[in-house]
C-alpha cells in the first residue's frame, strides 16, 4: 500500500541519478521484496511531514538515498500492535514492516523473544550522536537492537487556575483539596514508576515487593474517590477544560497544551520523573536491513533531527539539535523550552522503569488492571 509520500516523491524526482536509482526498483516493485525499498510503520504526527513546498523527512530521505519508502501512520496502540504482529513473528515469518517505532518496554519484550534483527551499528555512524542518557539503556543493554526515535518525560501537569497553588510532587495528587479532580495514567509503567519513586523505591528494578506500598496507596486513593479517572492520552481535553486540577501527563503534550492555555504547568515531581523513549526497531527476517540502517543514519543527522523536533516537540535523542534550533530566530524559543531540552537538574531527577521478569510483569499488570480497569 503505497502512501502519498511515495507517489509524490516519484513525481518530484527529475531525470538523472535519482531516476536511475528508482527505475530498477520500480521495475522490480511488483515482484515482491527487493532492494531500495523500505516500509516504515509509525504513529501519526510523529515526524516532519511533507507539505506543499516543504518536503518532509521521508521525501528528503528518498531523494538523498534513492530508496523508496512506504510510510504508514497506522499505529495507535502498542498493545494492539503487538497482538497484530505476534502471529507471524511467533511463527518465524517476516512481517510487512521493515522498521517500526515502538515504546521501550515493547522493544525490551521483543528483544527478549528474539524477534528483532540486530542492527549493524558500525554502518550507522550517526548513532554515535546518541545522547549519553539513552546509550545502552535498560531495555536494550547491548544497544544493538534499537535506536531511540523520540523520548519524553512522564510527570505531573496541573492547571494553576484550578489548583490555586503550585504543585511540587506526587503527594499533591493525593492531597485532599484536590479530591475527585486528579487523573492517573492507564500506562502501568509510567503510573507505577512515578508512584514507586514517591514511596522512595527505585523503579529501575521493579518487583511486587518494592511496589507493594505504592499499590496499596493507589488502591486506597481510588476507593476514597480521590481519582477522577485513569486516562490514556485523553487527559488533554480534561486538563484544558479544567476537569482535572492535576494529572499525570507527558512532557511533549503539555508543551503543546500550554500554548492553548498558559495556566497549564508541567513539573517533574520532586521524588523523580520517568523518562520514556519510543525506539526504532527492525523485525526479524526483514529483507531490507540495509535500507533500514540508511534511514536510521539519516534521521540521526542533527539537522534532520532538528526538523523533527521542531515539528514534534518531544525530546530528541540526537546531540546537537539544541544548538541548531537556537541558531534560528523562529526556533530559538523552542531551544530554550526545558520540556524539550531538559537541563541537567531536570535530567538528574529522571529514572527509567526497568525491565521486569515475566512473572513480575504478569503480577504487575494484573494488580494494576484490578485498580484501573475494574
Amino acid at each position: 500500500m503505497r502512501s502519498h509520500f511515495g507517489r509524490r516523491s516519484f513525481l518530484c524526482l527529475g531525470a538523472g541519478a535519482a531516476t536511475a536509482a528508482v527505475l530498477p526498483g520500480l521495475l522490480a516493485a511488483c515482484s515482491g521484496s527487493r532492494d531500495d525499498q523500505l516500509s516504515i510503520s509509525n504513529w501519526p504526527l510523529y515526524i516532519d511531514p511533507s507539505r506543499p513546498g516543504h518536503p518532509g523527512t521521508v521525501e528528503r530521505f528518498e531523494r538523498a538515498s534513492g530508496i523508496r519508502v512506504t510510510y504508514s501512520e497506522d499505529q495507535n496502540d502498542s498493545a494492539t500492535f503487538f497482538a497484530k504482529i505476534r502471529p507471524e513473528l511467533a511463527a518465524g515469518r517476516a512481517i510487512p514492516q521493515d522498521i517500526f517505532i515502538t515504546p521501550y518496554w515493547l522493544a525490551s519484550r521483543l528483544i527478549g523473544l528474539g524477534w528483532l534483527e540486530e542492527l549493524p551499528v558500525s554502518q550507522i555512524p550517526n548513532a554515535a550522536r546518541l545522547v549519553p542518557q539513552l546509550q545502552r539503556p535498560s531495555w536494550d543493554p547491548s544497544g544493538r537492537f534499537s535506536l531511540p526515535w523520540q523520548s519524553g518525560i512522564a510527570g505531573i501537569a496541573y492547571n494553576r487556575e484550578v489548583t490555586g497553588r503550585d504543585l511540587t510532587g506526587i503527594e499533591d495528587l493525593y492531597a485532599p483539596d484536590l479530591r475527585g479532580r486528579v487523573g492517573f495514567l492507564t500506562e502501568m509503567r509510567d503510573t507505577m514508576g512515578l508512584l514507586m519513586l514517591a514511596q522512595g523505591e527505585d523503579p529501575g528494578n521493579p518487583t511486587m515487593a518494592r511496589a507493594e506500598s505504592a499499590f496499596r496507596r493507589l488502591e486506597k486513593a481510588k476507593a476514597a474517590g480521590q481519582i477522577r479517572a485513569f486516562t490514556g492520552n485523553n487527559y488533554q481535553s480534561d486538563l484544558l477544560a479544567g476537569n482535572f486540577a492535576a494529572c499525570m501527563a507527558w512532557s511533549g503534550d503539555v508543551a503543546q497544551l500550554a500554548q492553548d492555555n498558559p495556566k497549564l504547568q508541567f513539573i517533574v515531581p520532586s521524588s523523580g520523573g520517568i523518562l520514556w523513549a519510543d525506539v526504532m526497531v527492525v523485525p526479524k527476517r526483514s529483507p531490507h536491513l540495509r535500507e533500514a540502517t540508511a534511514w536510521m543514519n539519516f534521521v540521526y543527522d542533527p539537522s534532520e533531527a532538528a526538523r523533527i523536533t521542531e515539528e514534534v516537540q518531544y525530546i530528541s535523542p540526537v546531540q546537537g539539535v539544541q544548538a541548531i534550533l537556537s541558531a534560528h530566530q523562529d526556533t530559538a524559543a523552542l531551544a530554550r523550552n526545558p520540556l524539550v531540552f531538559p537541563d541537567a537538574s531536570m535530567r538528574n531527577k529522571l529514572h527509567t522503569f526497568g525491565p521486569m521478569s515475566e512473572s513480575e510483569e504478569i503480577a504487575f499488570e494484573e494488580r494494576f488492571a484490578a485498580v484501573s480497569q475494574a
Binding site: 481535553s237 477544560a241 499488570e365
Partner: protein
C-alpha cells in the same frame, strides 16, 4: 399467510449460500478457535502453541476476575436499553404515524449523528458536560445540584466521569439501533388498523396494547437486541465518560487480551459474553411473532 415448507428448494439453497459461506469462514472458524483457546493452556506466554486441557480453569479465572464487572455491565446495558425504549418508542411512533413522505429522512436523521467519529463525539460530549461547561453552570445556578447529587445524577459535583454520564453515553449510542428497526416494523402496520380499533370505542391505551404492540413486537425485540448486546460490550463510553469504578466488562476483556496477554482467559470471558448474547437471542426467538390479521 406465511408458508411453512419443510424442505429447501434449490433456489433457496443457492440464495443462502454466499451469506452462509461468509458466516462459516469468517465467524464459525474463529469461534471454534476461541473455544479451543479457552480450553487450552499456552506453552509459552507469547508463543502460539497451546495444549488442550479438559479443565475449566480459564472460565473459573474469568468469572473470578470479571464477576462483579460483568454484573455491573449487564445492569448498565439493560438500563440503557430501557432508556432507549422509553425515548425511542415515541420517536419511532411519531416518525411512522406523522412522518408521511418524510419518513426516510426522519429515520436517517436519527442515525447520522453516529456517522461522526466516536472519539470526536466523545470529546464534544465532554466539553458539553465539563465542569465549567454550559450544562453544569446552568444546573449550579439553578440550585438543582444537591438534589441531583442525591439521586445520583451528579457525583462529587461533576457530570463527567460518573455512572450517569456513562449511562447517557450508552443510551445515546444505542438509540438509533433501537429506533431504526422499530420504524421498519411499525411501518408495516396499516393506519386503518389503528382507526378500526378506535372505532370499537377502545381507549388509546387499550388499542395500543392490543393492536399496536403485538405488531410492533418484532421491531421492538430486534431493536432491543441491537442495543443491549453492543452496550454490554462497550469500551469507549466507559473510558471517556465513566469514572474509575464504572469500567465495563469490555474494558477488562481488552486489558486481559492485549495488555496482560492472557488470551485464554480472555477467550473464556468472551465465551461467557457470547452465552449471554445467545440467551438473549433465544429468548427473542420464543417471543410471539406477529401474525397477519
Amino acid at each position: 399467510m406465511r408458508e411453512v415448507t419443510g424442505r429447501w428448494t434449490l433456489r433457496q439453497a443457492v440464495a443462502v449460500t454466499p451469506g452462509l459461506l461468509t458466516l462459516l469462514v469468517l465467524f464459525v472458524l474463529p469461534l471454534l478457535e476461541l473455544l479451543r483457546q479457552s480450553w487450552s493452556q499456552p506453552i509459552s506466554r507469547f508463543g502460539l502453541e497451546t495444549t488442550l486441557h479438559a479443565d475449566a480453569i480459564h472460565y473459573r479465572e474469568a468469572l473470578a476476575l470479571a464477576g462483579p464487572v460483568l454484573g455491573r455491565s449487564v445492569v448498565m446495558a439493560a438500563l440503557a436499553t430501557g432508556l432507549c425504549l422509553l425515548i425511542g418508542f415515541p420517536l419511532a411512533w411519531w416518525i411512522v404515524r406523522y412522518g408521511g413522505m418524510w419518513r426516510p429522512l426522519l429515520t436517517g436523521l436519527v442515525v447520522t449523528p453516529l456517522f461522526l467519529n466516536a472519539l470526536v463525539r466523545a470529546i464534544a460530549w465532554s466539553s458539553l458536560l465539563a465542569d465549567r461547561g454550559p450544562l453544569l453552570q446552568l444546573l449550579q445556578r439553578s440550585g438543582l445540584v444537591p438534589m441531583l447529587e442525591v439521586i445520583g445524577l451528579l457525583q462529587d459535583g461533576r457530570l463527567l466521569n460518573t455512572s450517569a454520564a456513562l449511562l447517557a453515553g450508552l443510551t445515546y449510542c444505542g438509540l438509533p439501533f433501537l429506533v431504526l428497526p422499530l420504524v421498519a416494523s411499525l411501518s408495516t402496520i396499516p393506519l386503518e388498523l389503528l382507526e378500526a380499533a378506535a372505532d370499537l370505542q377502545a381507549g388509546p391505551m387499550r388499542s395500543f396494547r392490543l393492536v399496536i404492540l403485538p405488531l410492533a413486537l418484532p421491531g421492538l425485540i430486534s431493536g432491543c437486541l441491537l442495543t443491549f448486546i453492543p452496550a454490554l460490550g462497550d469500551v469507549v463510553n466507559a473510558q471517556v465518560l465513566g469514572g474509575p469504578s464504572d469500567r465495563m466488562v469490555g474494558n477488562l476483556l481488552q486489558n486481559l487480551v492485549l495488555v496482560q496477554q492472557r488470551f485464554n482467559t480472555g477467550a473464556a470471558l468472551a465465551m461467557v459474553l457470547l452465552l449471554i448474547a445467545l440467551a438473549a437471542l433465544l429468548l427473542e426467538g420464543r417471543a410471539p411473532r406477529n401474525g397477519q390479521l
